[in-house]
Amino acid sequence: MPQASFIGPSLALSAILFSIGVAGVLLRRNAIIVFMCVEIMLNAVNLAFIALAQLHGVGGQVMVFFVMTVAAAEAAVGLAIILAIFRHRQSVDLQNTNLLKG
């Protein structure tokens, strides 16, 4: 049985990772980096799930598997889209992808 004292540091790490992810999505222009930041956010959430599963039972751990599955699917689709954009524009800079601008 792991120590309950791990929960606090784990949640803190999760929050730090999530903030790094958010900052990356907000500030970086390279689609690959932004994509990786999204992955960091997902895994930060996973960490929070696992930590809290210590208190609330196995449900959080089950949810982690779902998140990983969705993340895998998202990686497949997201990378494919980025690849298509790169083929079309020779660039993955998000600043140039603004066709929907009003």
Binding site: L26, Q95, T97, N98, L100, G102
Partner: protein, 677 residues
């Protein structure tokens, strides 16, 4: 409800026999309408079938009506016989049955409508034979009879109203029968729209009546009125009666709604005889007599009815003096005679009103059919010589007595009848109305004025009828040398109805022969059960016919006026040759006013039609529809979403993914905050 129980109590069950078959009188013309309507669409050349079916259904209907009348005569029924066919509008405690009511008044109306109608249908066979729309014509004519019979047989105001509107529809269809000519179609529309004003009044009257009495059955309303004698003279009853009279003024062409009737002459002449002289236009008189207790409970409304009638009688008669179209003279004559009927029913002399309705149906139908025979002959003559002269203008006629002897003699009988020469039918009915109006003057002096108007109108009636006869049948012929050879009397299908109606115009007065000449006032006693509620009111009890020397004096004056009028009319018209329409000098002075019908149509055009069109066009169409609805609401809301909301919304979509994420993040945090409470 107690009142509907009262209604049931005041009725007799149907005794079977011919009265039980009464629905046939409506069903037969309806079948005729279906057959002729189908033929007009599919087999418009099958004229032989139409010629048989059209009049045959009417004669069969007349036979049923006659049998039912004989049966009723043997029954001495005190209460109306009501046959409930089916429940039409059951809405909560408001319930209308489609029911027929047969009583003495319905019986008289039924005989007039089917009897006169039969002979007019027969006349139409000859008159319309060569018309392309022959089957369509008979389909409409049958349809008219259907609705007219619903009108006179309906047992409640709403059922009567079905017939009331239906005859309006048939009238519209037949006035605009030759709708290729825009003037005819316009005349039909005018009749329909002017009648709509009257119908508005009739509807209001029904609403008030339902609100007050809780029933619209005739027997129920009568029971309600008899149970509440305190209502006599009240504002409610006066309002009901006056609104109802507005409907009558529309249907029966009284001031101020009479203008449609002269224009209605655009239809075929037998239509003018049937609808616009003998039957439909008398529906207003019938309605007043049917509602006798309501009018008798409101002396004010009755005085208005008599006053409007007297004014209309005189006013229309003056216009008739100066018309040249033979049908227009008769149209104004009809308006004038309808005015007489309203003087009668407004006086409280309901029997006299119905009596004049019956005799007028005979002699006016005859006059119109005679005019039709004349027009038919004139038209044939002009057709043979390819002339385009007006076949209805009396200035083109003259001397037709020798070419159309049967028509001349029959129309002469009708002229004597309408002029009030004894012993012809019109004399008795007109004299009864005038005498009773005079008698009413003893307590309401204003009726002396109405009597004076009526007497003056009688003089003018004799003058314009003599003028019509003299211009048409006497003097030298003005049709043209070549045309004269083609002028001749009509075929038997047209002359037989003339002769039958001629006989009725002579002997029609027999239905209510006064005691003065040894009669028994048959119609008075016959209609007594129907008019008892009115007779029991103070208004009804106060009417006593003139007696002794007064009666003789009134009769003498009436006869004298008729004879003087005829003499003046014939002499003045024959004194100098009638100029042809082309050579006629311009009318001057009052004659010009009369020729232009007092410019009433023009007045209505300026005062009512044009402001109405202006409001419709400028206010309702341009300002409201185009400006407010199309402009402000439809285009305005589109402009708002595109230029204001759309512009602002599109600014959010700036293409910066970072910005989107911030918005998303802020939103997500806000939701979290809310969820955290």
């Amino acid at each position: 409800m107690t009142l509907s129980l009262l209604a049931q109590a005041g009725e007799s069950a149907s005794p079977g026999g011919a009265i039980g078959l009464l629905w046939l009188t409506i069903a037969l013309p309806l079948a005729g309408f279906v057959v002729n309507g189908w033929l007009s669409v599919r087999r418009s050349r099958a004229k032989a079938v139409v010629s048989f079916v059209g009049p045959a259904v009417l004669f069969a209907s007349f036979a049923v009506a006659l049998a039912a009348f004989l049966q009723l005569q043997g029954m001495h029924a005190e209460a109306p016989i009501v046959q409930r066919l089916w429940s039409w509008l059951p809405v909560g405690n408001f319930r209308i049955d489609l029911a027929l009511q047969y009583d003495q008044l319905s019986a008289v109306m039924l005989l007039v409508v089917t009897g006169v109608g039969s002979f007019i249908h027969l006349f139409s066979v000859g008159y319309m034979r060569s018309d392309e729309g022959y089957a369509r014509y008979f389909a409409y004519l049958n349809l008219f009879v259907v609705f007219m019979l619903v009108l006179v047989l309906g047992s409640s105001y709403p059922v009567l109203f079905i017939g009331w509107e239906g005859v309006g529809l048939a009238s519209y269809l037949l006035i605009g029968f030759w709708f290729n000519d825009k003037a005819n179609a316009d005349a039909g529309k005018k009749a329909f729209i002017v009648n709509r004003i009257g119908d508005f009044g009739f509807l209001i009257a029904m609403f008030l009546l339902w609100n007050a009495a809780g029933t619209l059955d005739f027997s129920g309303v009568t029971a309600w009125a008899s149970a509440n004698p305190g209502l006599a003279g009240s504002g409610l009853v006066t309002a009901i009666a006056l609104f109802m009279f507005l409907g009558c003024a529309g249907k029966s062409a009284q001031i101020p709604l009479y203008t449609w009737l002269p224009d209605a002459m655009a239809g075929p002449t037998p239509v003018s005889a049937l609808i616009h002289a003998a039957t439909m236009v008398t529906a207003g008189v019938y309605l007043v007599v049917r509602s006798n207790v309501i009018f008798a409970m409101s002396p004010v409304a009755s005085t208005v009815v008599a006053g409007v009638g007297a004014l209309t009688a005189l006013f229309a008669a003056t216009i008739g003096l100066r018309q040249y179209d033979i049908k227009k003279v008769l149209a104004y004559s009809t308006v004038s005679q309808l005015g007489y009927m309203f003087v009668g029913v407004g006086t409280g002399a309901y029997v006299a009103g119905i009596f004049h309705l019956v005799t007028h149906a005979f002699f006016k139908a005859l006059l119109f059919l005679g005019a039709g025979a004349v027009i038919h002959a004139m038209h044939a003559a002009y057709h043979a010589t390819h002339s385009h002269a007006d076949a209805q203008d009396m200035r083109n006629m003259g001397g037709l007595r020798k070419m159309l002897p049967v028509t001349w003699w029959m129309m002469l009988l009708a002229t004597l009848a309408i002029a009030g020469i004894p012993p012809f039918a019109g004399f008795f009915s007109k004299d009864e109305i005038l005498a009773l109006a005079f008698a009413r003057g003893a307590e309401q002096p204003v009726f002396y004025v109405f009597y004076g108007f009526g007497l003056l109108a009688a003089l003018l009636t004799a003058i314009y009828m003599a003028r019509l006869m003299a211009m048409t049948f006497l003097g030298t012929n003005r049709t043209g040398a070549e045309e004269q050879k083609h002028l001749h009397d009509s075929p038997p299908s047209m002359t037989i109805p003339l002769i039958v109606l001629g006989v009725l115009s002579v002997i029609g007065g027999a239905v209510n022969l006064p005691h003065l000449v040894g009669g028994h006032q048959w119609l008075d006693r016959w209609l007594e059960p129907v008019l008892k509620p009115a007779a029991e009111t103070a208004f009804g009890r106060s009417l006593h016919g003139p007696e002794g020397s007064t009666e003789y004096l009134l009769v003498a004056i009436a006869v004298l006026v008729g004879i003087i009028g005829l003499v003046i009319g014939f002499r003045a018209t024959l004194a100098r040759p009638v100029p042809t329409p082309e050579a006629a000098p311009a009318e001057r002075g009052f004659a010009r006013v009369l020729l232009n019908k007092y410019w009433v149509d023009e007045l209505y055009d300026r005062v009512v039609v044009r402001p109405f069109v202006w409001v419709s066009r400028a206010l309702l169409w341009k300002a409201t529809d185009k400006g407010l609805i199309d402009g402000a609401l439809v285009n305005g809301s589109a402009w708002l979403s595109r230029s204001v909301l759309g512009k602002a919304g599109s600014l959010l979509q700036n293409g910066q993914i970072g910005f989107y994420v911030i918005v998303f993040l802020v939103g997500a945090l806000w939701i979290l905050r809310v969820m955290a409470g």
